[in-house]
Amino acid sequence: MNSTANVVNEESAPPQDAIPPFALVRGEAFNTLPRDLYIPPDALEVFLETFEGPLDLLLYLIKRQNLEILDIPVAEITRQYMLYIDLMKGLQLELVAEYLVMAAMLAEIKSRMLLPRPPGVAEGEEGDPRAELIRRLQEYERYKRAATDVEALPQLGRDIFTVSAERPDTQVMRLAPQVSLHEVLLALKDVLTRAEMFSHHHVQREALSVRERMSNILGVVNADNFTEFTTLFTVEEGRQGVVVTLLAVLELIKESLLELIQADAFAPIYVKVPRQSIQGVSDEFATT
């Protein structure tokens, strides 16, 4: 990429074989800058407007003369600064207040520099009336550089291009809500409290393992077939497992969810789901 092309406006571009001029003013090339920095008023207007305020202008003046920021010749800088302020006034540029405040500050520093140093005050930064100005210039300069650094970082759309591929045919999926066990338990606590179940007799709670075993047994047996009683037990579970299963069977029988059938004494015992066992209208119908 060719830098000249970027800076020069196409129409006013000089012949490519010529040495690029420092400035083009109304299409006219300037190969040397006037020593007193005389620039036609229109050019100056643009020039001045590119300063980001009095600190920026001061930094420019210091840099232009290769001066040390830590040892600014205040008198000279003030003179030049006032020159620009006068130019701005002459051009009737909107002279922002900040520029005038800075002019006043410079004038004050200048006058303090001229005063003889009172005896007893050692030479040093504290005594230098320029210290605060230098601090501000340094601080601003840091962020001015930081701005350039940030600008130079790879930018999306300029240096970095993100990529994407066509997505496959998809339906938007709806996720099932997440629930924590804690929430479920709190819900149970609520409903039990409401029903005053904690004190109530029929929540003599069975061990949950019995309840679970009841569900499991119901999953195995049905109304059409007989299931041999002994197959409900898993010997590997040991005594405790057998007890749980037995309690579950007894509970199921008590709730008329299961019946035991034995043809003869010492014959195998079978279990099955009772078919239409005769029962009175149960509570469930009262509430449905």
Binding site: T170, K189, V191, M197
Partner: protein, 228 residues
């Protein structure tokens, strides 16, 4: 320009463009501004496209020619995973549903009427249906009384979801009665909407309360993430 670089530019261009690119459009990238001397021919472009197409065989995307040109697209076989990028979170479950689920878990096998009896209000069919669709609850059988009401119980999926080995791992009713009432979900939301990034400049302590920093909130959030 060697064929590798040509392929790379084509790959990058097709992925960077938000629409398919024709061979002509690809060719246009190499003309002008004389970045390189000889722009690739149409044949070279087509060869590069074919090579890219082949390299995709083992990858997650494929190079397709559609009417307006070439584009990369995600392989259809990966749709099950990729589609989750766009999934929506369903609204939270109601209190009634959670109570019903809890009663089924603790009192199974249980009929709907028995649930209603304990809860004191009717249980909507929707709740039972939702629980069955979620595969947390199933019909174990029917109570042999008039109407043969279904008996509900929980499933293996229910246990898996809540990381339980068996129902016996659920807390006892006595333990439940001593549960504290802090709704866990609130913490989660809170940490989700916490607008602060991790890099809080703690150096500037004089700025006062950008976001809640009380001990309470901190502890709650920790607890929440432990639950989640």
């Amino acid at each position: 320009m060697n064929s590798q670089q040509l392929k790379n530019i084509i790959e990058a261009a097709l992925l960077a463009a938000d629409h398919p690119l024709s061979v002509d459009q690809l060719a246009a990238l190499f003309i002008a501004q004389s970045i390189e001397d000889e722009p690739p021919t149409r044949d070279e472009l087509r060869q590069a496209l074919a090579a890219l197409q082949q390299e995709c065989e083992s990858r997650g995307i494929e190079l397709k020619e559609v009417s307006s040109g070439y584009r990369f697209q995600v392989k259809q076989a990966l749709a099950p995973w990729i589609s989750r990028l766009w999934e929506e979170r369903a609204p939270r479950y109601s209190r009634a549903l959670l109570e019903t689920l809890a009663l089924i878990a603790y009192r199974q096998p249980i009929t709907r009427a028995e649930i209603e009896d304990i809860r004191g209000v009717a249980v909507s069919s929707n709740i039972i249906k939702t629980l069955q669709e979620r595969e947390w609850v199933r019909v174990l059988g029917h109570r042999e009384v008039p109407g043969r009401p279904a008996l509900y119980g929980t499933t293996r999926e229910f246990l898996d979801f809540f990381s339980l080995k068996a129902l016996g791992d659920l807390p006892t009713l006595a333990e439940i009665s001593s549960l504290d009432d802090i709704p866990t979900q609130m913490h989660l939301n809170q940490s989700e909407i916490n607008p602060m990034p991790d890099n809080n400049n703690s150096g500037n302590t004089n700025i006062v309360q950008l976001y809640p920093v009380t001990n309470d909130t901190g502890a709650d959030t920790n607890e929440a993430s432990a639950h989640g």
